[in-house]
Amino acid sequence: MTDPILSVRDLRISFGSRQGRAHVVNGLSYDLAPGETLAIVGESGSGKSVSQMALMQLLPVPPARVEGEAIFEGRDLLSLDEKEIRKVRGNQIAMIFQDPMTSLNPVRTIGHQLLEPIELHLGLKGSAARERAVELLAMVGIPSPAKRLDEYPHQFSGGMRQRVVIAMGISCEPDILIADEATTALDVTTQAKIIEEISALQERLGMSLIWITHDLGVVAGIADRVVVLYGGQIMEQAPVDDLFEGRRHPYTRGLLASLPVPGDERPDKLSAISGLPPDPLALPPGCPFMPRCPHAEAVCRDRPELRAPVPSHRVACHFDPSDLYE
C-alpha cells in the first residue's frame, strides 16, 4: 500500500452528559490511501458520523472530548488551532451531509452558497467565481447551470439539491471527500445516479472518499475497503470483496443477513440482529457485541484484539470466523 493520505490512530471520543461520560468512539485506527474509497458502516449510534466530524473539529468541545491523532499531510488534524483547521475544512477535506433538504440555506440563492467555499479558499471573486460555479454545477450534472445559479433551494428537487451540496463539497478540489450518508435521503434511482457521479468525480479529481453509510448495497457498489464499526470500535476491516465473500465477524454476518434477499422464500419477514446496540454510557468490558452474539462464550468477557488472519483483513473476535461458520 502506498503512503496513506490520512492515518487515524487510537481515536477516542466521549461526550459528557448528566448521566455520565458517553464513550462513543473507542480506539479507532485506520488508514486511507490516496484515491481510495473507504466505507464506514455500522448501525445508528455506532460512531460513524461522530468519528468523521471529529476529524474536522466540528464537534463542540466540551461536551465532546476527542483523543488520539489523525495525521494528514504530516500534521495532526486534531491538534490544529481554529484558524488552521478552517483552512483544511472545505479546502482539503470536505463533507457532504445526509439531508439535502436542510443542508442548504433556504434564504440564499444556490449561487451565493456555492460561491462561499470558492471565495473563502480560492480567493476568486466576481465573474471568475461565477464561472467556476457554473462549471461546478455542470460537473455534477445540473442542466442549464448558469440560469439555475440565481434560484433558491426550494426551486430544486431533493436530488438536485444533493448535487448542489456535492458541488459545494468538491468546489475546492479537496483531497478527501467525506460523504455522510449522502444518498440515504434519496430514492433508489437518484441514489444510483448520485453515486455514479461521485465516483466519476472522484476519478477525475483524484480524491479519496470516505463513505459513511448503513447501506451495505451501496458499499458493495462503491467501496474499495470497508470498516465495520460497532460500539465505536472496529469489528472488522477488509477489502470489499473479502468482506462480502470471505470470512466474517459475527456482527458483519448479522448485518448482511438482515438485508432482504430478492426471491427469498419468506419475503414478508426480515431477519434482524436481536437486542440493541450497546449503551455508550455503559459499554460492556469485553467484546461490545457479546450480548447479542450467537457464538458468545466465556472468553468474550475479555476484549478481543483486532487480529489479522490475512494481512489485509482484520477482525476483532476471539474466534477464527471461518471456524464458526464451516
Binding site: 474536522m56 466540528l58 478552517r86 483552512k87 483544511v88 475544512r89 472545505g90 479546502n91 470536505a94 463533507m95 451531509f97 445526509q98 439531508d99 433538504m101 436542510t102 443542508s103 442548504l104 440555506n105 433556504p106 434564504v107 440564499r108 451565493h112 452558497q113 462561499e116 467555499p117 473563502l120 479558499h121 450534472g141 445540473i142 442542466p143 442549464s144 439555475r148 434560484e151 433558491y152 426551486q155 430544486f156 428537487s157 431533493g158 436530488g159 438536485m160 451540496v165 459545494m168 463539497g169 434519496l186 430514492d187 434511482t189 437518484t190 445516479k193
Partner: protein
C-alpha cells in the same frame, strides 16, 4: 418531496418570484396595511416639510386670541397662550417620528446582536446575556423608562435612549429564539464544514433567516415607541417646553379641557392615527412574513 427522474427536474416551470416580491404582494393585498402605509407616507412627508407646512410659528404667542376654537385662520384652534394648535401638531410630528425611529434603532442595534450571540454560542454567554435581558424585561416598560430618565435626566435624547433600552430585550429574545433553532441547522454545520468563520456564518446564514420576525417586531415597536414617547412627554420627562410634542400638548390641554377641548383632541388624534398606522403595517408584515408569531409586546400589554 421525492424526485424520480433527475433529467426532467429542471424543466418544471417554477415561479420565479423572490421572497421580497412575495412579501410585498401579500402586504399590498391587505387593505389595512395599505392604508397604514399611505397614512405613514403622508405623516413622514409632513414631518419632513413641517416648517413649510405649519402656518404659524410653534411659539408664536398671540394672547388676545387665546383658546379660540377651530376656524379658518386656526383650523385646530389656539391654545392657552394663543399658539396655533395645527402648527404645533405638525411640527411635533417630527419629534414623535424621530424618537420612534431612533429609539427602535437603538433597540435593534443592541438587541439583535445580543440575541445572535446568546443564541449562537449558547452556554454561559447565553445565560449571562439573557438573564440581563430578563431583568430589563421584568420591570414594566414605562416604569423602567421613567427610572432610566430619572437617572439620565429628562430630555428628548435621553428619552430615546430610555425607550431604546426598554425595547432591547424584546429584540434580543426574538432573535435568540430563532437563532436557537438555526444553530443546529444542517446548513449551518455544512457552512462550518466548508471553512466559514463564526462571523460569516452569523452574518450570511443566521441573520437572513431571523430577519423576518425582527422586521415585524420593528414596525410594531415603532408604534409603541411613539406611544411611550408621548407618555413620557405627558409626564414631563420627554420633550421640554417650549418645544411641542404630542404628549406634552395633551398634558397642557388637560387643564383647559372644559373650555378648549381642541387643545387635547388634535394631538391625541395625531398619536392615535400614527400608532394605528404602524400597527396596521406591522400586522400586515406579520401576516406576510411570519404568520405564526404573536408579538411579545402584544401579549405583554405595555404603555
Amino acid at each position: 418531496m421525492t424526485d424520480t427522474a433527475a433529467a426532467t427536474e429542471s424543466t418544471q416551470p417554477v415561479a420565479h418570484r423572490s421572497r421580497l416580491q412575495m412579501t410585498v404582494s401579500t402586504v399590498f393585498r391587505n387593505r389595512l396595511a395599505v392604508s397604514g402605509l399611505l397614512v405613514l407616507a403622508v405623516l413622514i412627508l409632513v414631518a419632513i416639510f413641517a416648517p413649510w407646512i405649519a402656518p404659524y410659528g410653534v411659539n408664536e404667542l398671540n394672547v388676545p386670541s387665546r383658546l379660540e376654537g377651530p376656524s379658518l385662520a386656526h383650523p385646530f384652534g389656539t391654545d392657552n397662550l394663543g399658539r396655533d394648535v395645527l402648527s404645533r401638531v405638525v411640527v411635533a410630528s417630527r419629534v414623535s417620528l424621530q424618537v420612534g425611529f431612533i429609539a427602535v434603532g437603538i433597540a435593534l442595534a443592541l438587541g439583535v446582536p445580543v440575541g445572535l450571540i446568546a443564541g449562537y454560542y449558547g452556554g454561559r454567554i447565553d445565560s449571562i446575556l439573557m438573564r440581563i435581558m430578563d431583568v430589563l424585561f421584568s420591570v414594566p416598560a414605562i416604569v423602567l423608562a421613567i427610572a432610566i430618565l430619572a437617572t439620565l435626566g429628562p430630555g428628548i435624547f435621553n428619552a430615546m435612549i430610555a425607550i431604546g433600552i426598554v425595547y432591547t430585550p424584546i429584540f434580543a429574545r426574538i432573535t435568540r429564539g430563532s437563532v436557537l433553532s438555526l444553530r443546529e441547522a444542517v446548513f449551518v454545520r455544512a457552512a462550518r464544514s466548508l471553512g466559514a468563520t463564526d462571523g460569516r456564518i452569523l452574518g450570511t446564514h443566521v441573520l437572513p433567516n431571523v430577519i423576518a420576525p425582527v422586521i415585524v417586531q420593528t414596525s410594531l415597536s415603532l408604534a409603541f415607541a411613539i406611544l411611550a414617547e408621548a407618555a413620557l412627554s405627558f409626564l414631563g420627562l420627554g420633550v421640554q417646553p417650549p418645544d411641542p410634542a404630542w404628549g406634552r400638548m395633551l398634558s397642557e390641554g388637560r387643564g383647559f379641557f372644559q373650555q378648549a377641548p381642541w387643545m387635547a383632541i388634535f394631538p391625541g388624534l395625531a398619536i392615535l392615527v400614527t400608532v394605528m398606522s404602524f400597527n396596521f403595517v406591522g400586522d400586515g408584515l406579520r401576516d406576510a412574513l411570519d404568520p405564526q408569531q404573536r408579538s411579545v409586546i402584544e401579549s405583554r400589554g405595555v404603555a
